[in-house]
């Protein structure tokens, strides 16, 4: 089971509270989808600068693997206050630890409501859905 101390978007981003800020990241499923277990397949990541205002669901960055570019979407609205510079230069950190050291950005949220997000159980269930 994925960590239950955070909430999720169906597009595989997670958000976790940390004091008066929240931290965004992507799940191991997203990493696996892009890299298929090869950590060196993650090649670029574009993240926003501190000060950028994000709307809920807005694309805040992109990540490229050897074979795909994928959008990174904001689970909550707010202002970017910190960016994980480590993973911008060393994407292997994200590949190895997407839940902790591989966090992407820290945001001061405008709204902390998570009613539109999935809990861990809901995210797990979403992964098992077939094409309809």
């Amino acid at each position: 089971m994925r960590p239950d101390d955070r909430h999720y978007l169906p597009s595989h981003e997670w958000v976790k509270s940390d004091g008066d800020t929240v931290v965004f990241g992507i799940t191991d499923f997203a990493v696996e989808e892009l890299s298929h277990g090869n950590e060196d397949d993650l090649v670029y990541c574009d993240l926003p600068e501190p000060g950028r205002k994000l709307a809920q669901g807005e694309t805040f960055g992109e990540i490229e693997s050897v074979k795909a570019v994928a959008d990174l979407n904001s689970p909550l609205p707010g202002e970017v206050v910190e960016v994980n510079k480590t993973i911008e230069d060393h994407l292997q950190v994200l590949a190895r630890d997407p839940w902790d050291k591989g966090w992407l950005i820290r945001v001061k949220p405008d709204d902390t409501s998570t009613s539109h997000l999935l809990d861990a159980e809901g995210y797990e269930a979403s992964l098992g859905k077939a094409d309809g």
Binding site: S35, E62, K67, V69, A130, D131
Partner: protein, 259 residues
């Protein structure tokens, strides 16, 4: 995963539509080509679509994250665009481009990205075999066509590229957004000055009607590989309008020089 199981897993999903739209755009402008692909990617109501297209004028396209300075040919190319898919630069001359746009939940794309490449490139390999081309996935270890510091896609092989004669002859890139996937593919029909020493179809197909000849083979291979039927259609008026609107940025200075 064996080749047969790679193919069967792309067509075994009974819920995936069996009829795909085919849009052919011959000698289309680079802005229209890129704009229409983006319009289809961002339209959740668009049907499953395969596009086959060529470019006029001949165009150099850069990958989304590629640095302008890493492509020496860009400074002197008459026509340059930047794609929204990744990878290296491609010279769209003597070349066939295809794009596939589907929901990410489709059987072709729902598994890890590399598996979708295996499935699509298996169809390419089948099409090439019609002309006696002994193509295969490049595998590890590099190819004779690899060159440093050109920034060209066909000079930088990856294991999932399609190669023949130990040189790269076809490659792909994807953009995933909003639960949908745009898959770009490029097959070199002939050689160009910017992409020397790569694999082409020059020795396998006559120059006359080479695009149409190979395109027909590719359609047959995809129909078999993906268990689909293609219906030729023109893009709708709304799609054409969106393509023109979206296409403007692809050759804009801001987008070209974003990196």
């Amino acid at each position: 995963m064996s080749r047969s199981s790679v193919l069967s897993s792309a067509r075994s999903d009974s819920a995936s539509p069996r009829t795909w739209r085919l849009i052919e755009s011959w000698d289309a402008s680079p802005e229209f080509n890129m704009g229409l692909d983006e319009a289809l990617l961002d339209d959740p109501g668009a049907p499953p679509t395969l596009r086959l297209y060529t470019w006029s004028p001949d165009t150099l396209s850069l990958g989304y994250f590629q640095k302008w300075a890493d492509v020496p040919a860009a400074a002197n190319a008459a026509t340059v665009v930047r794609r929204i898919t990744g990878g290296g630069a491609i010279h769209h001359q003597a070349e066939l481009t295809f794009s596939i746009v589907l929901p990410q939940t489709h059987a072709l794309f729902r598994d890890p990205v590399p598996l979708s490449y295996e499935r699509i490139h298996a169809a390419l390999i089948a099409a090439l075999s019609e002309f006696g081309v002994e193509a295969a996935l490049a595998g590890p270890g590099g190819l004779r066509s690899d060159r440093e510091q050109t920034g060209m896609c066909f000079h930088a092989s990856t294991p999932l590229d399609v190669a023949w004669g130990t040189r790269k002859g076809a490659g792909s890139a994807q953009r995933r957004r909003g639960g949908r996937v745009l898959h770009h593919g490029s097959i070199k029909l002939g050689s160009t000055p910017l992409e020397g020493e790569i694999a082409t179809l020059e020795e396998f197909l006559p120059a006359e009607n080479v695009v149409q000849t190979f395109a027909a083979a590719l359609l047959r291979a995809m129909e078999t590989s993906f268990a689909v039927r293609f219906e030729r259609q023109e893009p709708s008026a709304a799609e054409q309008s969106a393509a023109r609107r979206l296409g403007e940025r692809y050759s804009s200075a801001a987008f070209l020089h974003r990196r």
